[in-house]
């Protein structure tokens, strides 16, 4: 374990006798139905070409065939691990276009639930990533904590994954004291757990050897491919939609945008681990500032018609920038709904970033991108 990991020497790749390895669509490391056509030179990846579309559901066409309210349940099913953020973006774009003022209590609750959702999403990633790296136990620890969040959110929304909790103009129902008290207890329990995660996994020499210096992605590469979220922040760029295009009540809350300049898999890992702590911080503040009042705007028309034009709204989802573009022609149903999902852009750089890596390292890189395949395929 002395010295730097063997970098793939160009000469090692030069005389090519390659073979094609079809990784997926059923493979333990692709977390769902992603297929990667790998051209391998022994253990080196010569070319890794992702093949998408295995779970394509055409949400965008569905959007053109139903009213705004009817499309709402779809938003929780694009990236099912980050349902709150996606619903947030969609309700906000409609509120923006229709000029609906959301009561502050509703916005604070949106922030609290969104950040809880971010934590639960990052916990799934953490467990699944460790599973990619061959460590099984952290997954179960992560799920133990995630279960607490799911219980809390199920208590107020009635669902554990596809919450569909936000409505145009507010929320479908108010939170109760059980939720608020439970969230406070969760924060108190989660902080020592983060320390445990650090001791068990982050500081572990095997993990560090597997991640440090592996799969470097530069800020420039991210920019050319439009990568966002922890991938971009792991390349040292302080870009977070919550700060860059502030929305909801995030400007009233204090939090840091963790960045790590190294750009390797470890940097992306550390960004997400740090974001767990930051989300706890946001939730704690939001709970403290939570105003009383209604959770639904007073004047929300029963039949929503947006003015003609196109409207965008972006949020910082757990995996990066998620943007909804709605083109309206002043009818009850949208003329066009475009969903800009972070995983698509994040995966698109994989081909370039994985060139010349070992198979195991390429899979570590793939895991560090934190992909949710339905989010790519929509």
């Amino acid at each position: 374990m002395v010295g730097a990991p063997i970098a793939p020497h160009p000469a090692a790749i030069a005389p090519k006798e390659t073979f094609v390895l079809n990784l997926g669509p059923q493979h333990p490391a692709t977390h769902g139905v992603l297929r990667i056509k790998m051209t391998m030179d022994g253990e080196y990846v010569d070319r890794a070409e992702p093949v998408c579309g295995y779970i394509h559901r055409m949400h965008e066409k569905m959007g053109e065939n139903r009213t705004y309210a009817q499309f709402l349940p779809n938003t929780g099913r694009i990236d099912y691990l980050s349902a709150m953020h996606y619903t947030h973006a969609f309700v906000s774009v409609v509120e923006r276009a229709a000029g609906i003022q959301v009561p502050p209590r509703a916005e604070f609750i949106r922030v609290i639930t969104s950040e809880l959702n971010r934590i639960s999403s990052h916990l799934v990633w953490w467990g699944a990533f460790l599973l990619d790296l061959g460590g099984f136990t952290p997954l179960l620890y992560a799920f133990e904590d995630r279960e607490r969040i799911l219980d809390l959110l199920e208590g107020i929304t009635g669902a554990r994954l596809t919450y569909c909790y936000y409505r145009f103009g507010g929320l479908c129902n108010d939170v109760d004291d059980t939720f608020l008290e439970g969230t406070r207890q969760f924060i108190a329990k989660m902080r020592p757990r983060l320390k445990m995660y650090r001791a068990l996994v982050t500081d572990n020499i095997i993990l560090r050897k597997r991640l440090i210096g592996i799969g470097p992605i530069s800020a420039e590469l991210c920019r050319r491919y439009g990568a966002t979220g922890p991938v971009l922040r792991g390349s040292g760029v302080t870009y977070d939609v919550r700060k860059a295009e502030p929305y909801s009540v995030y400007p009233e809350l204090e939090f840091d945008v963790p960045t790590f300049p190294e750009g390797d898999s470890m940097a992306r890992y550390l960004v997400r681990m740090e974001e767990l702590a930051q989300s706890l911080r946001i939730i704690e503040q939001a709970l403290g500032k939570l105003p009383s009042g209604p959770v639904m705007a007073e004047k929300v028309p029963r039949v929503l018609k947006l003015p003609a034009g196109d409207f965008c709204f972006a949020v910082e989802a757990a995996r990066g920038r998620f943007m909804v573009r709605v083109v309206s022609d002043n009818k009850e149903v949208p003329y066009r709904v475009k969903l800009r999902t972070p995983c698509l852009s994040n995966l698109s750089l994989f081909e370039e970033a994985s060139r010349g890596l070992f198979l195991a390292d390429a899979l570590a890189l793939l895991g560090s991108l934190d992909l949710v395949i339905p989010d790519i395929d929509r």
């Binding site: 923006r96 491919y225 439009g226 971009l232 943007m323």
Partner: protein, 140 residues
């Protein structure tokens, strides 16, 4: 293409961010999307997404290029309209490699051909798909 920030080559217009969700927008001729992309690239913008809108009534297809600036938080939208019966537009994947997949997807959904694109095979649709579901005259 030589001018700088306040007024890059495409005639950028400021729009109300709070209403629209983007700061600047420009409508360019179809042959100007590549220079526009290059200008965006020079300004340090990153490609957000590419998509289409099918304006059936006007017999036109709109191609929408969304950009965001990772450092300054600026959002820019560049649009181009092409005739619906001959939906062709140059690719910008030479400028932003990330455009490759977005253009493939737009080709899938709208049948817009991106000229000189390296590979326009179906991306999200089945590999033998010859239909374009987001066209307004498409019925299953």
């Amino acid at each position: 293409m030589n001018e700088t920030v306040p007024n890059p080559a495409p005639p950028l217009q400021a729009v109300d961010y709070r209403l629209k969700g983007y700061h600047l927008e420009a409508m360019v001729a179809p042959d100007q999307v590549v220079p526009a992309a290059r200008a965006m690239d020079e300004q340090g913008f990153s490609l957000d997404t590419i998509t289409g809108v099918d304006w059936l009534a006007q017999e036109q297809m709109e191609v929408v290029y969304d950009y965001f600036h990772p450092a300054r938080g600026l959002r820019t939208v560049v649009r181009a309209r092409i005739p619906r019966d001959q939906p062709e537009i140059p690719t910008i994947s030479g400028v932003f490699p990330g455009a490759n997949w977005h253009e493939r997807e737009t080709h899938d959904f709208f049948g817009i051909r991106f000229l000189e694109h390296p590979d326009l095979s179906p991306f999200l649709l089945p590999e033998d798909a010859d239909f374009h579901p987001l066209r307004k005259d498409y019925t299953a």
